[in-house]
Symmetry: C2
Subunit: 336 residues, 2 copies
DNA sequence: TTGTAGGCGTTATCAA
DNA sequence: TTGATAACGCCTACAA
């Protein structure tokens, strides 16, 4: 790999001049030398050494994407279609802006921080942080942070959040279920934190507005870890007889549930209605096609990255961005 | 961020000593000073500046994962469940070895090369390269390269390939279809290069061994790009009447096809049998569950990364690694 | 056992 | 318009 120093030597000029041409500081250099240098750069296929540049300018052109894995949930976080779509959106935006993305997956916040510090990452996108995780990070890391899907009022003082109107999403869907005549509606999720809690609240609100009583027994808990899944699905299918519709916190769970139903001869939507949340490939390819709450996941990623990029350019951004949802009525909910 | 120089100053010693302690060159330093330094490092939470280290040692501790996107195929490569599972395997292995992964997606080989050079990436994992793409890269890039799923005899002189016995996989499956009484078997794919060609060859071989004639009209071409997909699905469904079974080149296509069948009232496996290849979430969650050729995609990623890591340690590795496949018989193939 | 000094490739300051 | 030189943080050969 050829260096600026070497180029300067071969061209009988100083590194400064070469560097200036490279950076288009055209005012500083005569047209003649400019041309000479540019031709030479082209010829030798010069590529700068980023490490050296980082050291000299104290900026890395790296944006870190840190995914906090929940140890109990997936063996492999990235396999969640939601996560991979998100990464796709972030990666594309960062790349087009001339930055680089460093992906880091860990369940240990400290590990993430160490990683980010060694690389002197210019900005950080955080996903999967719970409650004050984000705040803890922002206290150590003094550069721009954008969180995705983090519910933390306190956090918004420290970082920007890109999220969804999760509550409104389930609220709308449960209202739709009610409009189709459903009264005994369960809510299925694996936890009641953050996003899941917001969706649960939307569900509860819709029930309340329709004067349907909510009971804790309406909450169906799925245990997604591979070894627990079959057993928890068995329980849920058993309990599903008490309901006419199930509002699932994600498409993945909705499709998983419908497969379990099919295995037991329970027919969707004839025996029971199912609604999802996300609108991803899984629900789109399912037959009957899943009625679900649409969100644009890729957009979530691009908006998060764009926002961070703006902050790096010192452009003011709102500290909370709420993306819309909308209902996608397909074939898994029956009018009763 | 505190530097070695600063630490040395505060401790009244030289940077060499501090550096030696950091690198565990314990023989070079007295136990007393070692302890002092270690305690101090702990206290100030020292994190090395990777750029500086890279510059000094001329190694980056980065492994590049370059995905060559085919412009015509996906808007977003990473959304392919195969790709995301692969990334998951690579990322995990690299991280556990103390390296860093830089993900780079592009359809332009030169762009990938430039990226890899600026970062002085220690090793490269390549996916999606066709024919001599990999060779072109290896001629410019003089460090270890591991390709995934690249079919290129010539290439094996230049790099290690981690692949699958794709031909055997479809061969086994088509034999199974034949054993179930099928004779009119189509093959569905979007191209006939690399992996797809190998799978097609396995299919042809099985037909030949069973003395069933292959005709080019047995090849059903799907056009996956969003705007073409519905039309190509319509054509395929129409043509499917000529066959009793369809061997699909991937689970994604098998599930996509079955959704199209369902929309037209064509029942799987009663009206037509379908087999896939990959064994991913899509086929597992489908009902009837997809009969498919299993491959361990995550393992593909981990093996590729492990192999590269070995090469970085100058450990010899075979220049071709072929992972096995096996049949997963589920419910989409009927005996006729 | 510890310290000094030079170099990695780039940028930036300031002088010529 | 161009060039010398120091600085970024770390590593290492060699000296003390």
């Amino acid at each position: 790999m050829i260096t600026i120093k070497e180029i300067a030597k071969q061209l009988n000029m100083s590194t400064t001049t070469v560097s200036n041409v490279i950076h288009g500081k055209t005012s500083e250099v005569s047209d003649d030398t400019k041309k000479i240098v540019q031709d030479f750069l082209e010829k030798v296929d010069y590529v700068p050494n980023i490490s050296a540049r980082n050291l000299a300018q104290n900026e890395s052109k790296i944006i870190g994407l840190a995914l906090k894995a929940r140890a109990d949930k997936y063996e492999n976080l990235i396999m969640d279609p939601f996560v991979s779509e998100l990464i796709g959106g972030v990666e594309e935006t960062i790349r087009n802006a001339g930055y680089f993305m460093m992906l880091y997956i860990s369940s240990d916040t400290n590990e993430i921080m160490r990683h980010v510090s060694t690389w002197n990452v210019d900005g950080l996108i955080l996903f999967g942080m719970l409650n004050d995780d984000g705040i803890r990070v922002s206290e150590k890391y003094k550069k721009p942070i954008v969180c995705i899907d983090t519910y933390s009022i306190e956090g918004l003082k420290h970082f920007t959040n890109v999220g969804l109107d999760d509550e409104q999403g389930t609220y709308d869907m449960v209202n739709y279920l009610i409009s189709q005549g459903h009264k005994k509606i369960a809510f299925l999720s694996d936890n009641t934190n953050g996003v899941d809690l917001a969706r649960l609240n939307g569900y509860k609100k819709a029930l309340k507005d329709a004067k349907i009583k909510y009971s804790p027994s309406n909450f169906l808990k799925i245990r997604p870890h591979t070894k627990d899944l079959p057993e928890s699905l068995e329980e849920i299918c058993e309990r599903s007889k008490e309901f006419t519709a199930i509002m699932c916190v994600s498409d993945l769970y909705a499709v998983t549930l419908m497969a379990a139903f099919a295995d037991r001869g329970i027919s969707v939507p004839d025996d029971i209605s199912v609604a999802g949340f996300d609108d991803n490939m899984l629900g789109q390819l399912h037959r009957p096609a899943l009625t679900t709450v649409h969100q644009n996941v890729k957009q979530k990623g691009t908006v998060a990255a764009d926002t961070l990029l703006k902050q790096l350019k010192k452009i003011k951004t709102p500290n909370q961005i709420v993306l819309p949802t909308n209902l996608v009525i397909r074939d898994t909910v029956k009018k009763i």
